[in-house]
Every structure is written in structure tokens, then in C-alpha cells.
Amino acid sequence: MEQQSVPSKTGVVGAGHHSVSSRLSKAWVREHMAALLFLGPSLLVLGIFVFYPMLKTLYLSFFLTNDAGEGTVFIGLTNYISLLKNPSYIASLVATLTYVILVSAITVVLGLVLAVAANQHLKGIKIFRTLFSSTMGVSVSVAAIFWLFVFNPSVGILTQLSNALHLPVLNWMTDPKLAMAAIVITTVWMHLGFTFLILFGSLQQVPSSLYEAAEIAGTSKWYQVLHITVPMISPTLFFVMIVTLIDAFKSFGLIDLMTAGGPNNATNLLVYRIYQDAFLNGNYGQASTESIILTVIIAVMTLLQFKLLEKRVNY
């Protein structure tokens, strides 16, 4: 716009100007057509499957829904208020927070231990590295099936070990705390391979001269880990932690396969609850409200992740 107005003001009008501007606008059109071609498909998909449903969910969260799942009675914020007043929903929130914090903390610590252990010059270390990353190939239902067998009250390996050692048999699936422990353990195990790979990759980029200097100063191995490794890779550590955190917030499969939210809602995490309220109970209004609350939480976490990512890039 500005470019076009400049020549007309100064009065420098000539044959050249016309052709330049038309070439400009031709390029403009071409560039925009290309943009449409390159971006169009993605925009369409995101519009239909991300933005529209988000708005629709927000809309439904202000309604009571009928048997067919249509919003029929507008109730304003009542769904939100009654949910936040509902002790069982609060319990779900607390359970979810407990779960995600435990999962991400344990995963990162264990992943770091694995990474440090694998970052040695030993014969055959490659085999260990490969095995450490192996849980990356495990999908949610396989993990659930393997671990359900471990935790099985009558034939599980833990029960058998307890029997052999004359320890009290723990009932992993009916005790609220143990059920939570069971899904935390399984989730950590599933995430371990990925976390290990990322942390190991960033460990390898720590200059070895730092360790050599520490070696000369006669510091212990653990001192080196805590005072060189951890600070050097801390951006990656935080990054991995938040990725795991977000992932854990979205956990559904393991819950469905292992505990179905029980016992006593101890493992009724946010996404499972949405599923339960919508697709079992047919209470779509309430489930939409829960979806919006989940979205707010994930959005905050993701913003945090972006901030860290920025730091990481700068670093």
C-alpha cells in the first residue's frame, strides 16, 4: 500500500512504474496462491478437528445434554461450579497431579541414572544402550498386559515372591495407594526408553574436558554428576520433564486397561473421567466441562514448555 502511494505522491509516473507494480502484484498473487496451496490442507484439518471441536466443547460445557448428547438447557457456569464443588472430581484432580508429578520425577531421575551409566567407555556398552532404550518400542496395551501379569493377585510374580519370602501379599489392584503405584510404575517404565535416549544424547554433548578437569581435582563420580552433568544438561532435563508431564496428563490407555479408574476413583485421572462421563454415562455436558478444564491445564503446561524450549534454543 505504502509503496504504491509513494510514486503517485512524488509524481514520478512512467511506463516503468506500471510494469513494476504489476510484476509486484503478480508475485504477490503467486506467493499467496502458493501459500494457500502449501498451508491449505493443514489449515483445513486443524480447523475441522481442532478449532471447531474446541469451540463446540466450550459451547456444550454451558449446557445440560439430553439422551442424544445435544445441549438442550443452557445453565451458564453451573457445570463448572458443581464440578469444582464435587469432592470426587477434586479427588480426580489431586490423583492426576500426584500421578503426573510422580511419573515425571521418577522417569527423569531413572532416565538420568541410565544415561550416566551408559555414558562410559566400556566394552559392549552399546548393547546396554540399546536395551536401555528398548521400552520405546512398547505400546500402551503391551505394557499393560505385561504389568497386569506382574501385579496379578493370584499368579503374579510379586505375589509369588511375597509368598516365597513369607511376606504379606499385596493386593495391587484393590488398594487405592497400590493401584496408583502400579500405574505410576508402568507409566515410568513405558517412558524410560525415550527419556533415556534424549538425556543420553545431551550428555554426549557435554565437553569431556570438564570431566577431565574434575578428575584431576580428584572429585568423586557422584560429585561430577551433580555438579557438572546436571547443570550442563538442566535445560534438557526440564524439557524432558515437562514433555513427560504433559504426556502423563493425557494418560488414558493404561487406566482403561489396568484399573478402569478404580478403586474408589484413586486412579480416575482426568481423561479417563471425560471418557467415563461422556461415553459410559452419556453426560456430555459435564464431560465437555471436564474437557475445558483439562485444556486449560495442558495449555499452561505447554506455554511453560515453549518458554523452556526457547531457553534451550538459546542455550
Binding site: 438442550t72 470426587s88 489392584m173 484393590t174 478402569a260 478404580g262 476413583n265 459410559l280 453426560n283
Partner: protein, 443 residues
């Protein structure tokens, strides 16, 4: 990475898929396809598949395709949400407590239409089951798998331990006594009793003590506006469980399908003496153990005469979003399933009661009763029950929600929470749901 390697990997993937595709058999279907959604597992699923195969071989017009769709709880919304789309089934099985909702939504062609058209003789079908799935004299769906909650005990085990069998119509204290003896005489090696954290079992305790679950005569006079879960009958039953937990008799397997499977596995391997479940387990138990099986009526509270329990199970619905010939096929298969011999086979293999009165005359059932006398108990329990509003089922929408809430209450109670408080929480949650649901649907 070299491009050739990428292509190599892709080629490998492709080969793998082609190889797998080769293993997967594809069949050209020239017959009219009747997709049949069901929720049957284990021996019931095997038998249902057999029925479908026999039916498909018996005629050339229709091809019934059974699809297992998961648990009863999950399938109701699947049916409602897929209705009218290409993915919806022609024939579907849905459980007792979804009847009111499915009826209100008018997703199905009432089977009455086909009954009238074919002059199908419904007098052969067991009246209690028939009535459960009809409204204003019109048959909405065909009762199919019908069960009763019963008590199972391992008779061989009791004999080995020298314990007297429980009576046929036991009270809570009768069962506590036997369960205590089991744990004592086996020196703690065998658990006495299990009552799964399953809301249906609690509903049946209440029915057996003649308590109506929902108001307005359990929904029979008009749409219910409230339920009662924190009731004397529910509290007594839960107290009974708690007494057994305290005595160390009790084994809690939790809730859900994993729990039921673990409970069954423990009973079959002789690690559990008594448990309460649907009569539908009889087939599986008799197939899974050589021990002699004992079955009694559902236990009742001390000092209360048993009122009898409501039937459980599910019925078959013919979806109204399919063309006429598909609906006809679904009806033909329904009739096939209700044949006396097939109903007898169904009871023999599963434990669901044969609903066709003529089934009792078949050799299949006569042999079954000779071999496993206990298999008769569920029908005896049903026969002596005088129907009233408390033991004829609950006509209320959204009972899936109630099942979830009550199950949570049971989990709390088994875990040691205050009985009345837990039940009251479930009750309040359900009543809020009913209020909103009635409002949203304009009832």
C-alpha cells in the same frame, strides 16, 4: 541416511503388510449382511458364534456377523451415538437397565411388529423375561440372555474340609458361618467369600429385601425423580460384607472385568470357597473344574424373608435405521436363537436360563440337570418369586451412571469407609444426575 535405505525400510514395511494381508482372509459377501453387536465373553461368545455359523449355513439369504463390542456399560452410548450412521448394527444386544433409555430414544423397531406380522407364538417365552422388555403391552425387544444372581460354592471343597453345605435359601449369617469354617479349617489357605464390587449385586440385595430402588414404583407409574441407595437393606448387606472382611474370610478382587476373571480363576483353582455372581457363570464353572459345584438362592438378610431377585442379562433389539430386508434378517436370526433346542444349548453352555418353555423337554437340558443338579437352582429361584415392584427391575434412564457411582461406594466400603456416608454420596450423585437428565430431556 541414504535414500536407498529409506526406500529399503519402506519396502520392508510394504512386504510385511502384504504378507499379513495374505494371512487375513477376505470373503465376498453376496448375502445380506446382518451386523450383530453383542457383549458376550468366554463360553457365551463361543456359543453365540456357533449359532451365527449354524444360522448362516441354514439359509442363503442372510449372513449374520457377530461383533463383540466390549462391556455392557460401554455399549449403550455406542448404540445411541452410531444410530443412523453406516457403522450402526442391524441387531444389537443391550442389557436390562438400558431398556428404558433405548425405548425412549426409539432406536429400534419394536419386535412386536414382527411378532404380529408372523403370528409368532410368544406364549412359549418365559413371562417374567417377556414382561421386563415390554412397555404398554408392546414387546420392545426380545429377551435373550437372562440370568439370576446366585451363590456358588465348591461342594467338593466343603466335603474335603468336612463342612456342611449352606442351605438352599441361605441367610447372611448362614454364609458367614460357612465362610468362617472354610478359612479356619484350611488354615487360612483358602478364602471363604467374595462379593465383587459390582453395583448389580447391591441392587439385588435391595430387591431381595423388598426395597424399591427408584421412586414412583421403581419407575412403573411414572418417570422417577429420585433413587434411594442409602437404605436399611443396602446397609445391612454392606455390613455383612464388612463383617466377613473383619473376620478374614473375605477376598476382594476389586471391580470390572479383570476382577471377575480373577475371582473366577481363584474359585476354579480351589483358592476361593464361595462367591456371588450371575447364574451365567455356571457353564464356565462346570467346564473349568472337576470339583462338584454347589449353587444356592441369592442370600437374604437375617430376619427377612427373601423377596426374590430381579432377572439380569440382556435383550435383542432390531435397529430401525436399516432397510427392511436387513431388519427381516435380524428378526429371522432372533427367532432362530429362541428355538427350544438353541435355548437349551444356550443354557447348557452358559448358564443363562432357557427362555423357551419347550426347552425343558429337550435331552440337552435333561442331561444337564442329571449331570449338574445345581444348574436347576436359578430357574427354581425364579419360579418361587412372586413379582412385585421391588423385584421386577428398575425403569430409569442413566442407570449406567448409577452403576459407576454405586461401584465406587462399594469400593469405599470394602476399603473401610463409613457405610452410610458412602452410600449417601452415591445416592446424592445419582439424584443430581436424574434431576439434570429429566430437565435436559423434558421429562
Amino acid at each position: 541416511m541414504k535414500r536407498s535405505k529409506i526406500f529399503g525400510m519402506l519396502a520392508l514395511l510394504l512386504m510385511f503388510s502384504v504378507g499379513l494381508a495374505g494371512c487375513v482372509k477376505t470373503k465376498a459377501a453376496s448375502k445380506t449382511k446382518i451386523v450383530f453387536w453383542n457383549e458376550m465373553t468366554g463360553p457365551a461368545e463361543v456359543q453365540l458364534d456357533k449359532f451365527a455359523k449354524q444360522f448362516n449355513a441354514s439359509q442363503s439369504k442372510y449372513e449374520v456377523v457377530p461383533e463383540y463390542e466390549g462391556s455392557y456399560n460401554g455399549v449403550v452410548q455406542k448404540i445411541i451415538q452410531t444410530h443412523g450412521s453406516g457403522a450402526s448394527p442391524a441387531l444389537f444386544q443391550s442389557f436390562d437397565i438400558s431398556t428404558t433409555q433405548l425405548g425412549n430414544l426409539k432406536l429400534a423397531t419394536p419386535v412386536q411388529k414382527f411378532i404380529d406380522r408372523d403370528n409368532y407364538d410368544m406364549s412359549k417365552i418365559m413371562p417374567v423375561a417377556k414382561k421386563f422388555y415390554s412397555k404398554n403391552g408392546q414387546q420392545l425387544s426380545m429377551p435373550f440372555n437372562t440370568s439370576q444372581p446366585v451363590l456358588y460354592y465348591n461342594a467338593s471343597l466343603l466335603k474335603r474340609l468336612g463342612i456342611k453345605n449352606p442351605p438352599k435359601d441361605p441367610s447372611y449369617s448362614d454364609i458367614t458361618r460357612v465362610a468362617t469354617q472354610i478359612i479356619q479349617k484350611s488354615h487360612g489357605k483358602i478364602k471363604g467369600l467374595s462379593v465383587e464390587e459390582y453395583a448389580w449385586l447391591l441392587e439385588e440385595f435391595m430387591a431381595n429385601q423388598k426395597e424399591e430402588f427408584a421412586n414412583h414404583d421403581n419407575g412403573r407409574s411414572s418417570t422417577p425423580t429420585a433413587v434411594k441407595i442409602d437404605t436399611p437393606a443396602a446397609r445391612t448387606a454392606m455390613q455383612w460384607v464388612r463383617d466377613n472382611i473383619k473376620k478374614g474370610n473375605f477376598m476382594n478382587y476389586g471391580s470390572g472385568s479383570n476382577a471377575a476373571a480373577n475371582e473366577m480363576a481363584a474359585f476354579l483353582s480351589g483358592k476361593l470357597g464361595i462367591f456371588l455372581q450371575s447364574s451365567a457363570d455356571i457353564g464356565q464353572i462346570t467346564a473349568g473344574t472337576k470339583d462338584k459345584l454347589g449353587v444356592t438362592f441369592y442370600p437374604h438378610a437375617d430376619g427377612h424373608k427373601a423377596n426374590g431377585v430381579a432377572i439380569g442379562g440382556a435383550s435383542l433389539w432390531i435397529s430401525n435405521d436399516k432397510p427392511k430386508n436387513v431388519q427381516n434378517g435380524a428378526w429371522e436370526f432372533t427367532k432362530f436363537l429362541m428355538k427350544p433346542e438353541n435355548q437349551a444349548k444356550w443354557q447348557e453352555q452358559t448358564g443363562y436360563m432357557a427362555l423357551n418353555k419347550e426347552s425343558q423337554k429337550t435331552d440337552t437340558l435333561k442331561n444337564l440337570y442329571k449331570k449338574v443338579p445345581a444348574a436347576k437352582v436359578p430357574s427354581e429361584q425364579l419360579a418361587r418369586t412372586v413379582p412385585n415392584d421391588a423385584n421386577s427391575g428398575i425403569l430409569l434412564e442413566g442407570l449406567v451412571q448409577e452403576r459407576v457411582l454405586t461401584q465406587t461406594a462399594m469400593q469405599q466400603i470394602y476399603g473401610g469407609s463409613n457405610i452410610s456416608d458412602s452410600l449417601k454420596t452415591a445416592e446424592d450423585g445419582m439424584n443430581t444426575f436424574i434431576k439434570n437428565n429429566n430437565k435436559a430431556n423434558g421429562y
